[in-house]
Symmetry: C2
Subunit: 357 residues, 2 copies
């Protein structure tokens, strides 16, 4: 290739990261395999069972069902699709927090379900009263977020489970990003604490597996059955995934990463990331910016648009929340040195911005 692969030294915006060396090695070894055709590619199909079992352990599910998806978007679409297919109504709706990932809008458009969006409170968690008010007999799914994309917040999932139960709806927990950091906090988000039906947890985010490695998990084989289509001309007979051919690289790298890192490696990684987030939050607050407290390793701060743009011009890969705040995700590749260099650039540039240079 003439092009250089990604330089991560200024990437602060991504929820993906560099895969762990063992995950990379496994991905490379299984690059030519297709778990979408498990009768032909049997070894990687067995590895996928191992991956699902290992993810089940992380999310507190004794008898997990599911698969390694292309990512959180697919897993979220599948949760909505299964709930729609299982719902008795002709006119299904999904009640979700306004903080939910935009993949639910994609899912709603695809699947023809109505989205009912509940506001969040001052600390960015969904108002349960609003969810209760929006849910009705046509509600197929209630969504709770465990580590929101913008502020890393966890919704009151127990209360959402009650609302879903009262409405006869399923509960989906989106822990796409949070799933590999939340085990080391005291927040309740697992199947064994929350009466969830389906869950998204992405190994290619904080799990340090190689892209594409999302995770779709459920406690009910019925959920997978509701997604299955028949598969002629494959050796296997049906397929519950959204895509057909899939990457064995992703699957193998999940198994390798989990064997290497669960739980101690992930714990150490979380502590480093959280310390980095706390350090950055303090540094930005000291400079007079409004900072949203980083409950998980994700910092949002109200940095002026001009400064934001100058930081981008310096090559920093940064993004904005919906409210326009600077958003920095403290992924495993984000070191303290990177953040110190970033803050030094903030200092240098805010002087030129304020003097109009």
């Amino acid at each position: 290739m003439r092009a250089e692969p990604q330089d991560f030294s200024r990437v602060l915006s991504s929820m993906c990261t560099e895969p762990h060396p063992v995950a990379r090695e496994a991905a490379e070894a299984f690059l030519a395999t297709n778990p979408g055709d498990p009768g032909t590619y049997q070894t990687v199909a067995e590895l996928e069972t191992d991956a699902v079992d290992a993810l089940g352990e992380i999310v507190g599910l004794d008898d997990p069902h599911g698969y390694v998806a292309s990512g959180g978007t697919e897993a979220n679409i599948q949760a909505v699709r299964a709930a729609r297919n299982l719902a008795a109504t002709e006119d299904p709706n999904v009640v979700l927090p306004e903080s939910a990932h935009f993949s639910f809008r994609k899912a709603a458009g695809l699947l023809g379900v109505e989205l009912r969006t509940a506001p969040v409170d001052d600390d960015y968690r969904v108002h349960v009263d609003a969810v209760t008010e929006l849910a009705d007999a046509d509600t197929a799914l209630v969504v709770g977020v465990a580590g929101s994309t913008e502020y890393g917040r966890v919704d009151p999932l127990d209360a959402l489970a009650d609302v879903a139960d009262d409405a006869g709806a399923l509960l989906h927990v989106d822990a796409a990003w949070g799933g590999f950091v939340l085990p080391f906090t005291d927040r309740e988000w697992r199947f064994d604490h929350v009466d969830a039906d389906t869950l998204t947890i992405d190994p290619h985010k904080m799990g340090c597996a190689a892209i594409p490695a999302g995770g779709f998990l459920t406690r009910s084989p019925e959920v997978l059955d509701a997604l299955a289509v028949d598969t002629p001309y494959l050796e296997s007979t049906d397929q519950a995934t959204l895509t057909g051919t899939r990457s064995g690289a992703g699957v193998a790298s999940v198994v390798a990463a989990l064997e290497e890192l669960w739980p101690e490696g992930y714990r150490e990684q979380y502590v480093r990331a959280q310390n980095n987030a706390d350090w950055l939050a303090d540094a930005l607050a000291e400079r007079g910016y409004d900072v949203v407290e980083p409950e998980l390793p994700l910092v949002a701060a109200d940095v002026p648009p001009t400064l934001f743009d100058r930081l981008r011009e310096e090559g920093w890969r940064i993004s904005r929340t919906g409210a326009g705040e600077l958003r920095v995700v403290c992924m495993p590749h984000v070191t303290r040195e990177m953040l110190e260099s970033f803050v030094a650039d903030v200092d240098a540039l805010r002087r030129t911005v304020s003097t109009g240079d």
Copy 2:
């Protein structure tokens, strides 16, 4: 990894293959990149533009739009989704041959469109009269196959374009598998011969790129617009893909494979594969089995179920057509030696099957 990656020495059922060494190298280099977030992962996003341009050349499209999808299933779903979103009707239908891939059934279930299935003729090509009869003012999409999954047949695409045009529908051509062999035949399937709107062509099949590398192409930017959703918290602003995070490995390997192999490498590969298919077809016909003529490098033969099962027990990865025939796809990894060994096993096993051992 404790497990051994895939052994391809007996894989005759798959439409995937071992990636070309240059494709593998590029995939490994770009393993940690995400073209789903093009503002952050800019290099791989530029490579994707190169990939789409190169695929456009193969399919006869001067100003191609599209992207590298996870595979043919996603590309087919996206064609149905775009057509549905662009159709004026509340009750859209898709008219397709019974030989179309099962991903269209998945798409129909997802998207809530009606499928109207037209029968094929004695040579496995769709009856245009049946398509004409099934199409009406609610038809959003007509599908033609260019290299069918079961028999490698190409539908009369020009005639289908006329039917689509008369119905005010879009025409989608599924060349997922055929797209990298058809350029070396005299069959008309390209955008510059057929008035198609969208097309599926999968580099990770006959293109020798690494999984996941499908291709979704269109002549109209409006088609991509019809698929786009807004993307807060990314540096980019919208996303037309079905998945969110995507594999840069797939994208980079497409560019590398096309630079290395288009057109001469693919031509040589096609000639080898077609010769192998012709050889196998002759060998099976000589042994008294009914063989469907391999117009493209794919052999179907009416081998008895008992023999089929014994071949599987010997480790041959083989699959069946809907009619129950043995189906062998002569992918690049399938050598003459493999086929000779397979036919030797056919000879050995059919004796034991016929004597009841």
